[in-house]
Symmetry: C2
C-alpha cells in the first residue's frame, strides 16, 4: 500500500511524499506593488492584461502561470498526467478555458478560495496512489471579475465595509511529481463544511474561520503534532478579522498557534494599500504559496509549513435566499527537503 | 503499487476495483413519468419538493439521495471517508449546502454534466490508492434552477430550439467502497477539454460530442479493447443530435459502437414528453446510472458498461463574450460481479 488514511481521520499520510518540482505565479498591479511583489514570476500593469475583458485576462493569467510552471520544470504538456484546476467564476470558466488550451486530461474543482489546496491534496493522492507521475495544479482570481460577479461592477464605485477583503488578481500553478527536487507534501487534511451562522457576505473571514480552525485542530489531533512542529501555520484568505477568530477558536481546543500563524491575505498587501481586511480569492493563497512560501522553503527560512486553503461556499443566490455562509478549509503539509 | 496508469495514457486501471455498494436516485415529476420512472428510489410530484425555492428543492434532492445511498448500505455518515460532489449552479451551492448537512470531509467538483463520472473516477482512485475505505459521490440538477441561471426564468415561457435539451430534475448518489457487494469500477478514462468551435448554447449535444468521442476512442486505444467488449456504451447527456455526432466521430477513428450505444438523455424521457433533443444536466447521467443502469447490472441484463459523463463547459458570461463551447467526457467502466 503506497499510502494510507487511518480509519476515522481526516488526514492522509503520503508514504512517498509528492514533490513540488516547480511553481509559478502571475499577479496584477496591486499585488506587484505589495510586499511580496518580487516573489512573483510575472507582474502586469494593466488589469486587462492585454485582453478585451477581465474574464479573458483572468484566463490568460492562469494559462501563463500553468505554462510558466511547466517551463520552469523543463516539461511539455504531454509530460503531465492530469491537470486539476478551478476558480471563482461561474462554471469555473477560467480553469475550463485554460484547460482547453492545454491538451492534458483535466478534472475541474470548486472549493471557492480553498481550491489551490484542494488541488494540491488531490494531486498528491493521485501521485502517491500510483495513478499519475506528474500533476499540474492551479487556480486564479481577478478583482474585477469577482467584484462584478459576486458584488457590484467596480465601475459603480460602491463603498465596501471594513471587514470586506480585496480579491487578489493573480494565478498560481504548481507541478507535483512522484520524484524530483523541491519541497514535498507529506500530509493533507481534508476539511468538512462548517457553518456557524455568519450571514454577512462582507465578512467572509469570519464565515471561514471556524472551518479553518476545525481543520487545523483535526490536523493536530490526527497527527499527534503540536503547533511547534511547524515553522509556520498559514491560512489562505481569512484576512485580519478572520485570522484573529481562527486563532481564538484553535486556542479554545487547546492549541496555541499565535507564535507562528499568519494568513496569505494579510501577507500580500501592505498597510498603505486600501484593501480593508486583506486579500482574498483563489489567487491569494495560490500566488503566496507558489511565490513567497516556496521561496522561503527553498532558502531554508522555513522548513515545515502547515498551509490551509480556506473557502467561503456562498453564492449571490444563496445570500439572496437568506442562507448563511458555509466555510471549508483544506490543509497541506509542505516540508523542505 | 495498488493501482497504475501507463505512461502517456488517459486511462487508469484499478488493481482492486472499487465496489459500488449502493446507489440512490431522487427524481422530479417529469422524470418519474418517463420510461425509467420505476428505477428511481423516490419520485416527487411538485418541483418545489416542499421547499420555498427551486434552489432549496435541488439541495434537498441531493441530500435525500446522499442519505438514501447511505441508508441502503447500512452506513452512517462517519463511516464515509470523503464526499465528492458538484452540480450546475453557480458556486455549486447544491453540493456545498448538502455537504454542510453531512459531517464528512468534502471536496467540491465542477465538471458540468460530467460531474458524476468525474466523481466516480476520482473516488475510485482515492479508494484504490489507499486513501479511503468508502467515498460518497453525488450530483444534482433541476430544470427550473438551471433554466433561470443559464437561459431564461421558466415563468417567461421562452420558446426553445429543437436542438435544446431538457435539464433533468434529479439527484443521484453512490457509495464506493474498497470491499463489499455490487458492480465494480475497473477503469477510468479522464478526458481532455475539446472545443471544435460550436458556439450555439441551444445545441450543447453537438458541443460535447467531440469530447465524448475523443474519450471513447482513447479508452479503446489505451485498453486495446473493441466496442464489442461492452454490452453498452452510454454517454451522459448528448441527446439525440449529439449522440449521432459522437457515433460518427468514433466511427471515423475506426470503432463501430452503433450496435450498443445509447445516451442517458435519450433513455430518460419518452417521445411524447416535450423535451426536444432529450435530457441533460448533472442529474441526467446521475439518476440513470444510479437507477436504471445499476438495476440492469444487478439483474444481469448488462455485464460490462462503458459510461461516459459529458460536460459542456460554458457559462452565460463566456457565451456573451463570444466564446465557443468547450466539452469534456470522463469514462468509467462498470462491471457486474
Amino acid at each position: 500500500m503506497a499510502a494510507f488514511k487511518k480509519n476515522g481521520m481526516q488526514t492522509v499520510w503520503f508514504e512517498n511524499p509528492p514533490v513540488i518540482i516547480s511553481t509559478a505565479s502571475v499577479a496584477g498591479p496591486m499585488e506587484g506593488e505589495g510586499p511580496l511583489g518580487k516573489t512573483f514570476d510575472k507582474v502586469f500593469n494593466d488589469t486587462y492584461y492585454g485582453e478585451e475583458t477581465w474574464e479573458k485576462a483572468e484566463q490568460r493569467m492562469m494559462l501563463d502561470a500553468m505554462k510558466k510552471a511547466l517551463q520552469k520544470a523543463n516539461l511539455q504538456e504531454n509530460d503531465i498526467d492530469f491537470m486539476l484546476a478551478g476558480d471563482l467564476l461561474n462554471q469555473i470558466i477560467s480553469a475550463n478555458f485554460t484547460a482547453r488550451a492545454l491538451p492534458i486530461p483535466f478534472m475541474g474543482l470548486y472549493g471557492a478560495c480553498s481550491t489551490m489546496y484542494e488541488g494540491m491534496a488531490l494531486g498528491s493522492m493521485l501521485i502517491d496512489g500510483g495513478f499519475a507521475g506528474r500533476v499540474l495544479v492551479g487556480t486564479s482570481s481577478h478583482y474585477n471579475t469577482a467584484e462584478r460577479q459576486y458584488r457590484f461592477p467596480t465601475e459603480l464605485g460602491v463603498q465596501r465595509s471594513m471587514t470586506a477583503q480585496w480579491t487578489v488578481t493573480g494565478a498560481g500553478a504548481a507541478v507535483l511529481a512522484g520524484k524530483g527536487n523541491g519541497p514535498v507534501i507529506t500530509h493533507a487534511t481534508i476539511g468538512k463544511v462548517i457553518d456557524m451562522g455568519q450571514g454577512d457576505p462582507q465578512d467572509m473571514g469570519a464565515a471561514m474561520a471556524p472551518a479553518a480552525a476545525d481543520t487545523i485542530v483535526r490536523h493536530f489531533q490526527d497527527t499527534g503534532r503540536n503547533p511547534d512542529y511547524y515553522d509556520l501555520v498559514v491560512t489562505g484568505d481569512l484576512g485580519a478579522y478572520g485570522k484573529k477568530l481562527a486563532e481564538q477558536l484553535v486556542k479554545q481546543k487547546g492549541y496555541e498557534i499565535s507564535g507562528g500563524f499568519t494568513d496569505c491575505g494579510i501577507l500580500i498587501y501592505n498597510g498603505s494599500q486600501d484593501v480593508h481586511a486583506g486579500g482574498s480569492g483563489c489567487g491569494c493563497s495560490a500566488v503566496v504559496t507558489c511565490g513567497f512560501l516556496m521561496e522561503q522553503l527553498k532558502t531554508g527560512r522555513y522548513k515545515r509549513i502547515l498551509g490551509i486553503g480556506t473557502g467561503a461556499l456562498l453564492s449571490p443566490c444563496s445570500i439572496q435566499q437568506g442562507e448563511t455562509i458555509p466555510g471549508i478549509g483544506h490543509a497541506v503539509v509542505i516540508e523542505a527537503r
